[in-house]
C-alpha cells in the first residue's frame, strides 16, 4: 500500500513537471510581450526588462496598427465563426435527421455522398473553389469572395460531412417512438425536429461546436484563399500573418499580437472547460 502511494506521488510530480514544460512556450509569449525588442534580443528567457508600461504600450500599438486592425479582425472572426457554427449545427442536424428517418435508396445515396466528402482534402478543392466562386459571381452578380456569407457558405459546405456523420450516428440510437407520439399529438414534421429532436441532440451539438469552432476560428488556408489578404472581412489569423510578414524580427509586436489572438479562446476555454472537455470526450469516440 505504501509503495503504491509513493509511486502515485512520483507520477504526480512527473505530470506537474510535464505540464510546466508544456506551458513553457506560453510563459515565453507572456513574458516577452511585456519587453522592448532590445531586451528580448539580449535576454529572451528571463524576467529582465519586463514592465507593465511596455506591455500596455505593445498592446496599444497592436490595437492601433493598420497591419492588424485588431478590433476589426476580431469582430470578423467572431461573426464568421458564430454564424458558421450555428448554420453547420442546425443544417447538419436537419439533414442527418431526415437522412436517418427516411429509408429510401436516395437517402442512403446522399449519406454516402456526404461521407465521401470527408476524405476529400482541402488542397484538391482550393484552387478550383476560388475560380468557381468567382465565376458564380460573374454569372449571377452575387459577390461571394470577401463577404461574410460567402465564407460562411463555404464553411457549411466543408463542415457538413463530419457533422452529418456524427449526428447520423447519434440519431440512429434515438428511439423513434417519441417522434411518432408527437406526430399523433398533432405536431408537424418540422415541429417534431425543432421541439423534440433538437433538444435531444444537444450533447453532440456541443461536441460539434467545440470541434468546428476550433477549426474555424484558427483556420488560415481557407480564409487566405477565399478572403483576399487586405479584404474587409479579414480574420485574425490573416491579420497576424500580415503583421509577421511586414515586421519580420519585431518579436515584441508579433508576440503581443499572438497573445491577443490566443487570449480570447483561452478565456472561453477556461470558462466553459467542463462542457468542452465533456463534449470532446463524449463525441470523439463515436
Amino acid at each position: 500500500m505504501k509503495r503504491q502511494k509513493t509511486s502515485l506521488i512520483l507520477l504526480e510530480v512527473f505530470a506537474a513537471l510535464l505540464l510546466l514544460v508544456v506551458f513553457f512556450p506560453f510563459f515565453l509569449v507572456i513574458v516577452n510581450a511585456a519587453k522592448s525588442i532590445s531586451d528580448i534580443l539580449t535576454n529572451p528567457i528571463g524576467f529582465q526588462g519586463v514592465s507593465f508600461a511596455k506591455f500596455f504600450s505593445n498592446i496599444k500599438e497592436i490595437l492601433q496598427s493598420t497591419d492588424v486592425k485588431y478590433l476589426n479582425s476580431f469582430i470578423n472572426s467572431t461573426i464568421i465563426t458564430t454564424f458558421s457554427l450555428l448554420a453547420i449545427g442546425t443544417f447538419s442536424g436537419m439533414a442527418a435527421w431526415v437522412l436517418v428517418r427516411t429509408k429510401t435508396k436516395y437517402s442512403s445515396l446522399i449519406f454516402l455522398l456526404f461521407i465521401s466528402g470527408m476524405v476529400i482534402p482541402f488542397q484538391i478543392v482550393m484552387l478550383p473553389l476560388v475560380r468557381f466562386m468567382e465565376s458564380i459571381t460573374a454569372f449571377t452578380g452575387i459577390p461571394l469572395r470577401d463577404t461574410y456569407w460567402g465564407v460562411v457558405l463555404v464553411y457549411i459546405g466543408f463542415g457538413s460531412p463530419l457533422s452529418i456523420f456524427m449526428f447520423h450516428g447519434f440519431i440512429k440510437s434515438v428511439p423513434i417512438d417519441i417522434e411518432e407520439a408527437a406526430i399523433i399529438d398533432g405536431c408537424t414534421k418540422p415541429q417534431v425536429f425543432f421541439k423534440i429532436v433538437l433538444p435531444i441532440l444537444k450533447p453532440i451539438f456541443v461536441t460539434l461546436l467545440v470541434l468546428n469552432g476550433m477549426w474555424i476560428w484558427n483556420d488560415y488556408l481557407l480564409p487566405l484563399l477565399v478572403i483576399s489578404k487586405n479584404g474587409n472581412v479579414r480574420t485574425l489569423p490573416l491579420a497576424v500573418a500580415n503583421l509577421a510578414g511586414s515586421f519580420v524580427k519585431q518579436w515584441d509586436l508579433i508576440l503581443t499580437s499572438v497573445l491577443l489572438t490566443a487570449i480570447p479562446v483561452i478565456i472561453l476555454f477556461l470558462f466553459a472547460q467542463k462542457h468542452i472537455i465533456k463534449g470532446m470526450t463524449s463525441g470523439a469516440i463515436k
Binding site: 502515485l8 507520477l11 504526480e12 512527473f14 505530470a15 505540464l19 508544456v22 506551458f23 512556450p25 515565453l28 509569449v29 516577452n32 529572451p44 443544417f91 436537419m94 439533414a95 431526415v98 437522412l99 446522399i110 455522398l113 456526404f114 466528402g117 476524405v119 482534402p121 488542397q123 484538391i124 478543392v125 482550393m126 478550383p128 468557381f132 465565376s135 458564380i136 457558405l153 457549411i156 459546405g157 457538413s160 414534421k189 418540422p190 476550433m214 484558427n218 488560415y220 488556408l221 484563399l225 489569423p237 497576424v240 509577421a244 518579436w251 508579433i254 508576440l255 499572438v258 489572438t261 479562446v265 483561452i266 476555454f269 472547460q273 472537455i277 470532446m280 470526450t281 470523439a284 469516440i285
Partner: protein, 377 residues
C-alpha cells in the same frame, strides 16, 4: 487544334455544372410555390366561396403531374418529400457547390494547361503528371511528407497515449493536467508556428549558449523541430480520445487481473490495449490525415526552409546532379506554392490529385488494418 474535342467536352461539362447550380438555386422557388398555393386555396374557399379544383399547371403535361404527385401537391408522398428536400437542401447545396463541383473541376483542370488567368484551355492529357513525377523537387517533397507523417503519427500517438495513461491514474490534479495538456490545441497552427519560431530562433539559442549544444534550426534538425511542435499541439487532443476509451475499460476486469497477479505491463498488453483498439483506429486516422495536410505550422515556422542537399538516392534515381532544395517543403505547402504563388494552376492541381489519391489509399489501408484488430466487449 488536336485537343479541341476534349476542350469542348470540358466546357460542356462546366456548362452542366453551372446548370446544376442554377437548378439548385431555383429549387427553393419551386418549393415556396406549394405553401403559397395552400394559402390561396384557403383564401378562395373562405373568402371567394368558390373552391378551385385544378391548378393551372395540372394539364396533361407529364412533368407537372409528376411534380404535383411527388413534390408540390398535397399527396402523402409530396408532403413527406417536401420535408426531406427542405431539410436537406441547405447543407446539401452548400456541400455540392463548394466541395463536390470544385473537386471534379480540379480533376479536370489537372489534365489541362490552364494557368488560372488566361481563357485558353488546352487538353494536355497526362503531361502534367509526367512533369511532376520527373521533377526532383516534387519527388523529394513527396518523400519528405511520407517521412514526416510516419514520424509525427508515431510520436503524437505515443505521447498522447502515455499522457492519457498518466492522467487516468488517481492523481490529485488530474483535471488540471487534462485541461493544461489540451490547451495548446486551442491555438491555431499559424499562431503556434510564430510562437515556436520565436522559441527556436531566440529562446533555445539563448538556452543552448549556457548549456553547450547548438539547437538552432538547420536541415538536420528542422524535421525534428516541426514534429516537436506538432506533438506539443496535437497530443493533447488525441489524449482526449484515449482518455474516453480508457474510461470505458471496465474496472472489474483490471481488479480481477490484479488479484490473479498480473503485472502492470501484462495488464496493459492483455486488457487495456485490445479494449482501446477502436480509439487507436480513430486516432491514427486523424493524426495521419492532419500530418499529411500540415500547412499552417510549416508556413509560419519555416515556410519550407531550411535548404538541404538533394539526397543521393534521389539523385541517382532521377538522374540529377547535386542540387540544393528546400527540406521542409511538404506537399500541402508545395501545392499551395505551385498553384497559388507561382500561378501554375494545372500543375498544382495535378499534384493535389496525386496527393488525394495517395492519402485515400493510405487511410483506407490504415483503417481496414486497424479495424481487424478491434475487439468487441
Amino acid at each position: 487544334m488536336e485537343n479541341s474535342v476534349f476542350v469542348k467536352i470540358g466546357k460542356f461539362f462546366l456548362r452542366i455544372l453551372e446548370g446544376i447550380v442554377i437548378f439548385i438555386s431555383a429549387f427553393p422557388l419551386v418549393l415556396i410555390y406549394a405553401p403559397l398555393r395552400n394559402l390561396y386555396k384557403r383564401f378562395s374557399k373562405s373568402v371567394l366561396k368558390k373552391p378551385i379544383k385544378s391548378m393551372p399547371y395540372q394539364g396533361n403535361v407529364r412533368i407537372f403531374r409528376y411534380l404535383d404527385k411527388y413534390i408540390i401537391g398535397e399527396t402523402k408522398y409530396a408532403q413527406k418529400n417536401r420535408v426531406f428536400i427542405y431539410f436537406l437542401l441547405p447543407s446539401l447545396s452548400a456541400f455540392i457547390i463548394f466541395v463536390i463541383i470544385p473537386f471534379f473541376m480540379g480533376i479536370y483542370y489537372s489534365f489541362t494547361d490552364w494557368e488560372g488567368l488566361s481563357s485558353v484551355i488546352n487538353w494536355v492529357g497526362f503531361a502534367n503528371y509526367k512533369d511532376i513525377f520527373t521533377d526532383y523537387k516534387f519527388v523529394y517533397s513527396f518523400f519528405r511528407t511520407i517521412q514526416y507523417s510516419l514520424l509525427s503519427v508515431l510520436f503524437v500517438n505515443l505521447f498522447a497515449f502515455g499522457i492519457a495513461l498518466l492522467v487516468t491514474q488517481k492523481l490529485k490534479l488530474k483535471n488540471i493536467y487534462r485541461a493544461g495538456f489540451f490547451m495548446p490545441n486551442l491555438i491555431g497552427g499559424l499562431v503556434l508556428g510564430y510562437i515556436w519560431k520565436f522559441v527556436y530562433s531566440s529562446a533555445l539559442p539563448a538556452i543552448s549558449e549556457s548549456l553547450g549544444p547548438n539547437l538552432s534550426l538547420n536541415a538536420d534538425t528542422a524535421m525534428g523541430a516541426i514534429i516537436a511542435v506538432v506533438v506539443w499541439q496535437y497530443a493533447g487532443y488525441i489524449m482526449m480520445i484515449y482518455i474516453a476509451a480508457l474510461q470505458n475499460v471496465p474496472q472489474d476486469l483490471i481488479e480481477a487481473s490484479k488479484i490473479d497477479g498480473a503485472s502492470a505491463w501484462q495488464r496493459l498488453k492483455a486488457i487495456t490495449l485490445p479494449l482501446v483498439a477502436q480509439a487507436f483506429t480513430i486516432s491514427l486516422f486523424l493524426t495521419l490525415v492532419t500530418s499529411f495536410k500540415q500547412f499552417d505550422t510549416v508556413i509560419a515556422l519555416t515556410n519550407g526552409a531550411p535548404a538541404a542537399l538533394l539526397p543521393e538516392w534521389i539523385q541517382s534515381f532521377m538522374n540529377e546532379s547535386t542540387r540544393s532544395i528546400l527540406s521542409m517543403n511538404l506537399m500541402a505547402l508545395d501545392i499551395y506554392n505551385t498553384g497559388w504563388i507561382e500561378n501554375k494552376f494545372s500543375v498544382g492541381q495535378a499534384k493535389a490529385v496525386v496527393f488525394f489519391i495517395f492519402l485515400l489509399i493510405v487511410s483506407v489501408i490504415q483503417v481496414t488494418y486497424n479495424k481487424r484488430r478491434e475487439v468487441e466487449l
